[in-house]
Symmetry: C2
Subunit: 154 residues, 2 copies
Amino acid sequence: MTKTAMPGFSPCNNATLRRAARKLSRFYDDVIAPSGLKGTQYGLLYQIYVGSEPAMGTIAEEMVMDLSALGHTLKPLIRDGYIEAFADKDDRRIKRVRLTTQGLAKLEEATKLWSTAQQRFEDMVGRQRAADLRAMLDEVAELDYEVPPAAPSS
Amino acid sequence: MTKTAMPGFSPCNNATLRRAARKLSRFYDDVIAPSGLKGTQYGLLYQIYVGSEPAMGTIAEEMVMDLSALGHTLKPLIRDGYIEAFADKDDRRIKRVRLTTQGLAKLEEATKLWSTAQQRFEDMVGRQRAADLRAMLDEVAELDYEVPPAAPSS
DNA sequence: CACAGATAGTGGTATATGCCACTAATTGGA
DNA sequence: TCCAATTAGTGGCATATACCACTATCTGTG
C-alpha cells in the first residue's frame, strides 16, 4: 500500500460523508440545544408531524433508518412526553405515533432555532449549492445498492 | 406551521446529510463486513496508517471527531489487537497510536473489500460526481460555524 | 522555583444506529 | 379452518459520537 498525499480528506466516499455529518450535526445540535432537543430528535418530530400518524415502519423507511434503531431513538421522546404511540385500528402489529400537544409546542420552539441554523449554513455555502447538495444526498440515500453475496456459487 | 409537500426528503441540510450517511454507511459496512471491521473502523485504521504515529488529538482533528469519541471508538480496535498506543517521548500528555502487524494485515484485507464498495458506488453515481460530492462534503466539514452565543450582550 | 492557566486524555452518561433473535399478529393457501 | 410464511416491533448487545467533569502534564511568568 502506498501512502499518497490526498487532496481533501480521504478518497473514501463513506468516510467523507460521515465526517461532514459529524461536523454539520454538531452545528445544528448546538443551535437547537436551547430547546433541549438534538438535531436528530428535531428531525424525527418534524417527520412525525408531517406524516399522518405514521407507522413506525413508514417513518423508518422515509428516514432510511433501521426499524429497531428508530424504536430506540423514539424512546427518549416518548419518555419526555413529546410523542405518543398507539396501535393501528385494523392491524395490531402496526404501531403509529403522533406528537402530543407538548410535542407540537416543542417542535415549534425548535423550528425557530432550526431556521437560524439552516439560514446560517445556507449563507455560508450558498442557497443553491445547499439545494444541490441535498439533491445529491437524496439520490445517495435512494440508491439501490445490492451488496454482492460473498459466495454467489450456489 | 404548514405541512408542505417537499421535493426530496426534507429541506433540512442536516437531516438530509445524516440520512444519506446512514444509507451509505450501511452499504460500506455490508461490503467490508467479511473482514470483521465496520466502515468507521476501517477509516480509522486507514487514518492511523497514513499518519506518522499520530497523536489522538491529531486524528480527532483530521476526522472532525470529538477527542473522547475517538477514544471510545479506538477501544475495540486496541482490544482486538489492531492498534497500539504509546506515550509521546517529549510530552507525556500526548498519546500516539500505530497499527500493529496484525492491524496492517487487517487494513490490507479490508482495503480489498473497501475498493469494491468504492468502485460500485462510483459506478452508480459516476466517478466525477462522487468526486464533486466529496469536495462539497470536505468543504462542509471544514466550515467555521461560529454558533452565536445566546446572550451576546457582553 | 512555584503556581495559575492551558493542553491532552479518560471515564461516565446519554443519544444514535445497526444486527440478531424473538414475539405477536396477519395472511395466504391446502 | 388451520398452519406455514410473512410482517411489524421489541429487547439485547455492540459500536459511534457527543458533552462534561476530572486527572495528569506542560508552560509561561513573577
